[in-house]
C-alpha cells in the first residue's frame, strides 16, 4: 500500500516514523555489534544495529528510502540480542518495527519479493491451512501455488528449504484434539487460558498437549478456546501492521470471556508479540484498554511454572541437556533463568551451556525463508556450538528454533534428541523413560 495522502519526510511518512527520541538514546558506543548475528557474519556497520539505527536517522534527516537502506533493515533477524546488550536502553525492537511498517508502505518491492511474501503470509498465520499440510510441498501442489512459484523463479530458493522442512517436520498424525477445558489435578491454584499458536499447533501438537498436561498437573484449570487464529507475530515482525492489528483484536476477543487469571503461551515468538499488544493497538480507542489488560496477563510457560512453583512430583531423568535460548524469549522477554531453573529442578538432569548462546540460530520467524543464505550460516554455527556441548538432548522453547536447529544438526551428520522444555517437564512428571527424549527427532 502506498498512501499518497501521507506526506513524506525523507524516507518516512507521518504514520509512526521511527521515533526520533528513541533514536536519540543511541550514543554510538557499539556494544550491540558483537551480539548482532549479521554483524558477526559480515562485519559491516550497515548490518549492525548501530548502523541500522543510523540509517533510520538518515531517513528522518531527509535521505530518501533507498534500496540499500531497505536491504539492511530487511537483513535484521529481529532477534533483539542488541536490546539485551545495549547499556543505554535503546528500544531497537520498537524502532525496527516502526521502520518495517514504513518499508511495507513506502518501498516498492520487486515482483519476486512480493510473490514470496504473499505466499508466506497466505500460509503461516493460518493454523488451519498449516494443519492441512502433510508437508509444505504437498500444500503447494494442492493449491497450485507451486506453479505460481515456479513462474516467478522462486522455487529454486524455496524448494531446498521446504524440502528440508518436509523431511524434518513430524508426521502429522491426527493428534487427539485438545479439550476446551482441562481441569486442575488436585488443588486449583490458577486458571489459565492457553494459546495454541500456528506452527506449534500444526507441526508440534505434542508440545501443546504436554503444555496442557503440565499446567493441569501443577494445579491449573486450563482453558483452550478452539479456533483461536494467529497472534500476529509474523505480521508485526515484517511490517504488516494492519494485518497484525486484525489478528490481535481477534485473539483479545477470543480470550476476553474466558475469565482466566493468565494467558499462557509456549512459543517465544508469539509471546513477545502478545506482550506488546498495548503498543500495537494504542491508536485504537475501542481496543487500547483491552489490549493493556490482556498484555498484563500474558506469561510464557516457563514464567508461569516458575511463578507458581512446583507441586507435581518430578521423577528422575538421567539426561545431559543443552538449553538453547530462543531470542524472543531471552532477549525480547528477558526469560533466561526460569527455564534453566525448571530443568535443574528435575533430578538427574545435567544442564550444559551453549557457547555464543546470545547469537540467533537463524530461524527468526520467516527469516530463514526470506534470507536462506545467512540463515544457513547461522544455523551451522549454532549447530557446531550445540554439538560441542556433548549433550544428549537439545531443549528450547520455540518451534522455529527447533525446526532450524534440527535441520542444521542433521545436515552436519549429528543426532541429538530434540524437545521443547515442557515436554521434558511432562516426561519427568509422568515418569517416562529418558530414552524417549534422547531419541526424539522432529
Amino acid at each position: 500500500m502506498t498512501d499518497m495522502d501521507i506526506r513524506q519526510m525523507g524516507a518516512f511518512d507521518e504514520h509512526h516514523p521511527p521515533d526520533s527520541d528513541l533514536l536519540g538514546d543511541c550514543v554510538h558506543c557499539g556494544f550491540c555489534l558483537p551480539t548482532c548475528p549479521t554483524y558477526v557474519l559480515w562485519g559491516e556497520e550497515m548490518d549492525s544495529p548501530r548502523g541500522r539505527l543510523y540509517l533510520m536517522k538518515e531517513g528522518l534527516e531527509g535521505e530518501p528510502m533507498s534500496d540499500s537502506m531497505v536491504q539492511h533493515w530487511d537483513s535484521c533477524l529481529g532477534c533483539m540480542s542488541c536490546v539485551t546488550a545495549c547499556p543505554s536502553g535503546v528500544r531497537y525492537d520498537t524502532l525496527i518495527e516502526q521502520t518495517r511498517a514504513q518499508v511495507e508502505r513506502n518501498h516498492r518491492r520487486t515482483p519476486k519479493e512480493k510473490a514470496l511474501r504473499a505466499l508466506i503470509f497466505s500460509i503461516f498465520p493460518h493454523p488451519k491451512r498449516l494443519r492441512a499440510m502433510r508437508g509444505p510441498l504437498k500444500l503447494l501442489q494442492r493449491t497450485g501455488l507451486d506453479r505460481r512459484l515456479r513462474s516467478t523463479g522462486l522455487l529454486d530458493r524455496m524448494a531446498p528449504h521446504l524440502a528440508a522442512m518436509e523431511r524434518l517436520a513430524p508426521t502429522i498424525t491426527d493428534a487427539d484434539p485438545l479439550p476446551e477445558l482441562m481441569p486442575a489435578v488436585g488443588e486449583r491454584r490458577a486458571s489459565v487460558g492457553m494459546l495454541t499458536g500456528c506452527v506449534q499447533g500444526a507441526f508440534f501438537p505434542g508440545v501443546n498437549a504436554a503444555t496442557a498436561r503440565v499446567l493441569a498437573a501443577e494445579g491449573c484449570d486450563v482453558v483452550i478456546p478452539p479456533s483461536q487464529g494467529c497472534c500476529g507475530a509474523l505480521s508485526v515482525h515484517n511490517g504488516r501492521e494492519e494485518e497484525a492489528q486484525t489478528y490481535a483484536r481477534r485473539i483479545i476477543d477470543t480470550f476476553e470471556d474466558a475469565g482466566v487469571d493468565h494467558i499462557v503461551i509456549n512459543a517465544a515468538g508469539c509471546g513477545s508479540t502478545l506482550k506488546d499488544y498495548a503498543r500495537l493497538l494504542a491508536d485504537d480507542p475501542a481496543y487500547a484498554a483491552k489490549a493493556e489488560a490482556f498484555e498484563a496477563k500474558v506469561r510464557d510457560i516457563a514464567e508461569i511454572l516458575d511463578e507458581l512453583g512446583p507441586v507435581a512430583e518430578r521423577h528422575p531423568l538421567d539426561l545431559t541437556i543443552a538449553y538453547h535460548d530462543a531470542c524472543h524469549l531471552a532477549h525480547a522477554q528477558g526469560v533466561r533463568s526460569q527455564p534453566r531453573a525448571l530443568l535443574r529442578g528435575i533430578p538427574g538432569v545435567e544442564l550444559r551451556e551453549i557457547a555464543e548462546g546470545e547469537i540467533c540460530c537463524g530461524s527468526a520467524g520467516i527469516y530463514n525463508i526470506l534470507n536462506p543464505e545467512p540463515a544457513r550460516e547461522l544455523g551451522e554455527r549454532k549447530a557446531r556450538n550445540i554439538v560441542a556441548t556433548g549433550a544428549e538432548v537439545l531443549v528450547t522453547a520455540n518451534p522455529g528454533c527447533l525446526l532450524q536447529v534440527a535441520s542444521s544438526i542433521a545436515a552436519q551428520g549429528h543426532r541429538l534428541g530434540m524437545a521443547h522444555l515442557v515436554e521434558v517437564l511432562d516426561a519427568s512428571i509422568s515418569g517416562s523413560s529418558p530414552e524417549e527424549l534422547r531419541t526424539r527427532t522432529i
Partner: protein
C-alpha cells in the same frame, strides 16, 4: 607532485582510480560507495564529530589491505583505519576526500600458543575473544578496556588502550610482542619478533599508541597471562570520594598492587543502577571496586589488609563477591558506566585525563567546584589506582548553549589535570578531539620531534592526517613555529625530508 601517468592518459580522478583498484582487489561487498551506507561510517564512538568518507573498503586479507594503501600512496589519497568504531577521541574519524579502511573482516585468531604464552591475531579480532580463545588453556589477555566485548585489537594497538586491570598488568604496549605492519607506502613489514627483545630503536613501541598516523597493523602477536589461582572482588561503599580516595592511597602505600582499583561517584552509580541494576550500596557517595588476584596465599593476606584499610578510612559497607555471577555484576556496573550515563542525561562528554594519584582528593574537589559554578553536572568514573580520571560531563543538546557550557567544563577539567602535573589523555587517545590541547602539554620542540618520527614512517602524511598533532604540516616544510632552522638541523645532525 605531478599526477601519475595513467591519470593523465585516462582522465580518471585519483579517487576513481582507487575505486577501480579496490574493485579489482576486493570482493564486491568490500567496496562501499553508496551514500547511505558511507554515512553509517561517518563517526566512531565520539559521535559529535562526523565526516562522510569518500570510500569505505573492508579488506579480508593483509595483502588486500596493503594493495589499497599502495594505491593511496600512488594517488596521494588520505586513508584512515577503523576497527569496531568504538574510539572516544575521534581517532578513526574519516577524511572527506579519503578512504576508510575497516578491519572488521580481518578477524582470525591464527594461533594460541600456550607453551610460549602468546596468541597471533588479526587486527579486527575483538579484545574479549582473545581471552575467550585462551581461557580453555588457562590463559587470558590482560588489557581490558571497558569496551573489551566490542573493541578490536587493532584499535587497541593504535590507541595503546588500557583498562581497569592495567594498574597491575600494564597497557597494550606491554602485551604486544610483534606486529605485521603496512607502512604508509603500502609495504608489509614485520616489527618485533619471537625474541624477548630486539636491538636498535623500538619501532614496535613507536607504532603502539601512534593512533594510526604511522600505518596499519595487519597481524598482532600478543602476550597471554596465566589465569590467577585466586581472584577476590570487593565492592566498598564510602560516604564521600574523599574517603574513598584516602582508602586508595592507604592501600597503595601499604605496598599492595591490586589487579584493579576503580572508583565511581554518586552520579555515576545512579546511572549504572538505571542501566544494569548492579545493586551498589544505597546512599554511597563513592564506591570502590577492588580486585585482588594471584596465588591464593598472597591474595588472602592482601585481602585482610585491604579490608582493614577500608574500614580504617571509613567504609560503611564492604561486600565480597561470593560467586562468579556476583563478581560479574559488580564489574557490570563499572564497565557499563559510560554508556549507562545515557540513562540519566540526553548527551554527555566522556573526558579522559590523568593526575598523580596523590592529587586525587584535591582535583575531585576542584571538579566539583567547577561543576557547581557552571551548573553543569559531572559524573566521575575512574581508574583510581593510576590516577586516570573519566569525568562524564552531562548536558542536553536541545538546550541552547548547553553544549558549549559542557565543552568549557570538559576543557577546564583537562586544565586541572595539567596544573597538577598530569596528562590530557590516559587511554582514549588524542585523535581529532584533543589535538588542540597538545601544545598545552608539550613544548614546540617536543611536537617537532614527534613530527620527525611521523615523517620517517609517512612522508606524504596520508595515514590518518589531521589527528594527534595540532597544526598539520607537510613533511617538506620546516618544522616548528619558530623562525629559523630546527636545532637538530642547525647542529648538522638532521635534515628536512
Amino acid at each position: 607532485m605531478g599526477l601519475p601517468a595513467d591519470v593523465e592518459t585516462t582522465g580518471a580522478t585519483p579517487l576513481e582510480i582507487l575505486i577501480q583498484r579496490a574493485r579489482e582487489l576486493l570482493p564486491e561487498e568490500g567496496v562501499i560507495t553508496d551514500r547511505a551506507r558511507l554515512r553509517t561510517y561517518e563517526c566512531d564512538g565520539l559521535a559529535h564529530y562526523r565526516v562522510t568518507p569518500a570510500l569505505v573498503v573492508i579488506p579480508e586479507t593483509a595483502e588486500q589491505l596493503a594493495g589499497i594503501v599502495r594505491c593511496c600512496a600512488e594517488q596521494q589519497i588520505p586513508y584512515v583505519a577503523r576497527g569496531s568504531g568504538t574510539g572516544l577521541s575521534g581517532g578513526s574519524l574519516p577524511h572527506a576526500e579519503g578512504v576508510l579502511v575497516v578491519t572488521s573482516r580481518l578477524r582470525a585468531i591464527k594461533e594460541v600458543r600456550r607453551d610460549d604464552q602468546r596468541a597471533v591475531v588479526e587486527p579486527g579480532v575483538i579484545n574479549l575473544d582473545v581471552t575467550r580463545a585462551s581461557t580453555p588453556d588457562g590463559y587470558y589477555y590482560a588489557p581490558d578496556p571497558s569496551s573489551q566485548q566490542v573493541c578490536s585489537i587493532g584499535g587497541n594497538v593504535a590507541e595503546n588502550s588500557g583498562g581497569a586491570h592495567c594498574l597491575k598488568y600494564g597497557f597494550t604496549t606491554n602485551h604486544v610482542l610483534a606486529a605485521e605492519f603496512v607502512t604508509a607506502e603500502g609495504e608489509q613489514v614485520r616489527l618485533g619478533g619471537d625474541a624477548p627483545d630486539s636491538p636498535g630503536y623500538d619501532l614496535l613501541g613507536a607504532v603502539v599508541g601512534s593512533e594510526g598516523t604511522l600505518g596499519i597493523v595487519t597481524e598482532v602477536t600478543v602476550r597471554l597471562v596465566r589465569l590467577p589461582e585466586k581472584v577476590v572482588t570487593l565492592l566498598v561503599g564510602f560516604d564521600s570520594t574523599d574517603r574513598a580516595g584516602a582508602a586508595v592511597s592507604a592501600i597503595i602505600a601499604a605496598g599492595i598492587v591490586p589487579a584493579a582499583i576503580e572508583m565511581m561517584d554518586a552520579l555515576a552509580i545512579e546511572a549504572a543502577e538505571a542501566a544494569v541494576a548492579c545493586n551498589y550500596p544505597d546512599g554511597a557517595g563513592a564506591v570502590l571496586v577492588i580486585e585482588l588476584d594471584g596465588p591464593a596465599t598472597e591474595v588472602d593476606a592482601e585481602y585482610a589488609d585491604v579490608v582493614r584499610l577500608c574500614e580504617e578510612t571509613g567504609a560503611f559497607e564492604l561486600r565480597t563477591a561470593q560467586t562468579p555471577e556476583e563478581r560479574v555484576l559488580i564489574w557490570k556496573g563499572r564497565k557499563s558506566a559510560f554508556a549507562a550515563v545515557g540513562r540519566i542525561s540526553p548527551d554527555y562528554i566522556v573526558q579522559d585525563g590523568v593526575i598523580p594519584r596523590t592529587a586525587l582528593p584535591e582535583v575531585l574537589r576542584a571538579i566539583a567546584d567547577l561543576s557547581e559554578r557552571s551548573g553543569v553536572r559531572v559524573a566521575n568514573v575512574f581508574h583510581a589506582g593510576d590516577g586516570n580520571l573519566h569525568p562524564l560531563v552531562l548536558f542536553d543538546d536541545a538546550v541552547p548553549g548547553a553544549g558549549e557550557a559542557a565543552e568549557a567544563v570538559s576543557r577546564g577539567i583537562l586544565d586541572l589535570c595539567l596544573q597538577h602535573g598530569g596528562s590530557i589523555t590516559g587511554e582514549h587517545g588524542v585523535g581529532a578531539d584533543k589535538a588542540a590541547h597538545m601544545p598545552k602539554m608539550y613544548a614546540a620542540e617536543d611536537l617537532d620531534t614527534m613530527q620527525l618520527i611521523r615523517c620517517a614512517f609517512d612522508p606524504d602524511r596520508i595515514s590518518n592526517p589531521g589527528k594527534v598533532f595540532p597544526t598539520p604540516r607537510l613533511c617538506g616544510e620546516r618544522p616548528g613555529r619558530r623562525q629559523g632552522a630546527h636545532p637538530l638541523q642547525e647542529a648538522g645532525v638532521a635534515e628536512v625530508f
